[in-house]
Symmetry: C2
Subunit: 441 residues, 2 copies
């Protein structure tokens, strides 16, 4: 129906129907259209109306370029000026320096200044997700006059549900929710009703820490300050929701050893993205193969040893993945600072010992019953006990070591730890087998 109105060049009808939709639905409609239809949309909608669409666009970062190239540069500049500054900065971060400079030059000065201020914050910090469209007031006025400021600025602020109170130096001294404002007496002074225990975040704080704070305190927005407590911007809860789900997807992808589970690649792209990791693992696997080939004599004498290779290697991979996941999450939650790395390792070691003991006993019995060979059962049981203990510790140790070396511990994926543990377990298994060779023959 909307498309029909566009095709028939019925501008009024299109606008009437289209602007009734929630901006997210408008954005969904927009990206589903062909470039021709989109071009008509730029004619029928104002830059401010397109800005609302772009504020809700849910596309890959490199697609912005394509959409912007369909519009007149003047239109782009006006649209960016009408977007929330944080979103406009996100769009501009995808363009070449020259283009950015162009757009900022034709934009009106105030909007350009707001956006420019946000462009140079490092990715994944509070600064990179904050916006400058907040409402700041002074403490020395009545609730009534604050209410007037709020009504005046409501149209431009990203949230009107918190008022931030600043002093003459623009330092953050208090906060007041709209709820508190509405339920306060009109003649009360702001400094009497405001809350002076403000929870804020530093501009260079990691966005994950900001997310955790927001989640704990149930805020709808958090103020961002510099080291001298000057108010720089705010972070709203909708951006935090995005951060939480991005970080979760990221951890999940890394555990599985894939670049990004949520992007739909073509088979060629997917293979290209997954292969580098696999080739590295292939060479690690060659090391395991090389290790076994050093035990070829042992194998030649007792071929049945080969039967238990995948079981022992596989189980050590399984338990390693478990303790890896626990350690990575514990590091991400900042629990390491609370507990200390030695305690964490000691706990995993004891867990591994218990797991190894249980599985070792089970397999000894099973092998004895199955193959009627007592010493083989004991060997496999002993090997499983030792490998599971070591593998559990390795699963915790590797992310801890990476953390120490300031590498993101989430890079140690399940496949990686599994392959490392293959190597360790083969060494233990064949080592033990060679030692107790006499009993096996």
């Amino acid at each position: 129906m909307l498309v029909q109105a566009l095709r028939d060049e019925k501008m009024e009808e299109f606008r009437k129907q289209f602007l009734k939709l929630h901006p997210y639905d408008r954005a969904k409609f927009y990206v589903e259209q062909s470039p021709e239809v989109r071009k008509r949309m730029y004619e029928y909608l104002s830059p401010a109306e397109m800005a609302e669409i772009f504020d809700h666009l849910d596309i890959e970062e490199d697609e912005y370029k394509i959409y912007l190239s369909e519009m007149d540069p003047m239109f782009v500049a006006q649209m960016l000026a009408h977007m929330y500054a944080d979103n406009a900065a996100d769009v501009l971060n995808e363009l070449d320096k020259n283009e950015v400079a162009n757009y900022l030059t034709i934009m009106d000065d105030e909007a350009a200044k707001d956006i420019q201020g946000l462009l140079h914050y490092k990715e994944y910090t509070a600064g990179s997700i904050m916006t400058t469209e907040y409402i700041a007031i002074h403490a020395n006025q009545t609730v009534r006059s604050a209410m007037q400021i709020l009504k005046r600025e409501a149209a431009n602020a990203e949230t009107i549900y918190y008022l931030y109170v600043v002093n003459e130096q623009r330092q953050l001294v208090g906060v007041l929710s709209l709820r508190e404002l509405l339920t306060s007496d009109d003649d009360a002074m702001i400094h009497d009703v405001m809350n002076d225990q403000v929870v804020s975040v530093l501009v260079d704080e990691d966005q994950e820490d900001v997310a955790r704070k927001m989640q704990n305190y149930d805020f709808l927005a958090l103020p961002v300050v510099d080291a001298n407590n000057h108010l720089l911007g705010i972070i709203t809860v909708d951006d935090i929701v995005d951060v939480i789900s991005e970080e979760a997807t990221d951890d999940y992808s890394k555990l599985a050893g894939v670049p990004d589970v949520d992007i739909q690649y073509t088979p060629f792209e997917a293979a290209k993205k997954r292969l580098p990791w696999l080739i590295i693992l292939l060479f690690l696997g060659m090391m395991t193969a090389n290790l076994i080939s050093r035990f070829e004599d042992t194998l030649q004498k007792v071929a049945i040893l080969a039967v238990f290779i995948p079981l022992i290697a596989g189980m050590s991979g399984n338990t390693g993945t478990q303790s890896l996941a626990v350690a990575v999450r514990r590091l991400a939650m900042g629990d390491l600072e609370k507990e200390g790395k030695w305690r964490m390792l000691a706990r995993e070691a004891l867990t591994g010992l218990l797991i190894g003991l249980s599985c070792g006993v089970v397999i000894t019995i099973v092998v004895y019953v199955w193959k009627q060979q007592f010493f083989l059962g004991v060997l496999v049981g002993l090997a499983l006990f030792a490998t599971l203990t070591v593998a559990t510790v390795a699963g915790a140790l590797i992310p801890l070591a990476m953390h120490k070396l300031r590498i993101d511990p989430a890079v140690a994926s399940g496949p990686f730890i599994t392959t490392i543990n293959d190597l360790i377990s083969i060494l233990i298994y064949f080592g033990l087998a060679t030692m107790f060779m006499d009993y096996l023959l």
Copy 2:
């Protein structure tokens, strides 16, 4: 300092300091205290003040019982009545039926009715996370009178930032944000300024779908309705933030094959929780061992075959984990409905083919250079090519099959797929080796 005030029985000083804190910090302080100190807190704080703490408590669900047992039953009932109904229902869901009935009986009727209404919604549905403390108004009044209702109800509502407009049958007909209310003319009628395209969720909708909707539309709250569009409650963004991080942790834990990565268990508990999975995998591993033992003849003749077992089994596990993670996420995102399962499988099959081809060629060359055996190289390369292709498809197929059988596909963990793929890869590898035995000797 706060503890000191409690010890010295300085009630006024404690209250003055304590009530200045944000409720989350009060809750943190509360759980860190000994039972004795906590008991003094129940004396010094009112049920309403304790309710604020409980609304922000971040503890294991089974710990509620312990805290409640320290309080007088009347105090508990009053506290629950002061809590947001959704949170109170969460607490009551952890208690025995008798206890619940007791508390509800001594509670005042209105609060008891609110909470009772929430107790019977199924876990993980919109109903289980909604609250009934919203503001509903009728369309046939002015902005001014709506504002008065809002100010009157502000103290009890969980959010005052949306007003929901209902008709005589309490059906949801519109929504109005406080921002729109504040910027509308005082004499305008609600039905003229309200938005009648309301985005709502059904009471039995999955909480993950609710979360996705909230994330897409950037709402601070979503109304919950029944099949006849009667307004039942609202879900606020802070609960959605919790849902998103819980679901993410859940997916992550399942991929790693651990019960819950975020709970700090003692080594005994951890071993007990991880073992059931490992024992199942151990028996699956025995099947692999059994499979190899059927090829003992082949192995006896060409012992060098054993050298490549962990490499081939391991690589098939790695690629299987990758495609598993992609498939699980795709299912969770609802992409399957869009794409269809055959297309998804075809895409993974082609990806697997490309990965298998690349790794197969690499390993053929490496083995040839290393061992100077052409046929062995070709065999290992061919086996790797075939296993990687099959393993990639298996990684996608297993969660799809589980989805079809209405089992949560996330249960197919990395360790599970790895072990299944061990079995498949051994079958392929030794099958090929036996077939081409003549060339190897």
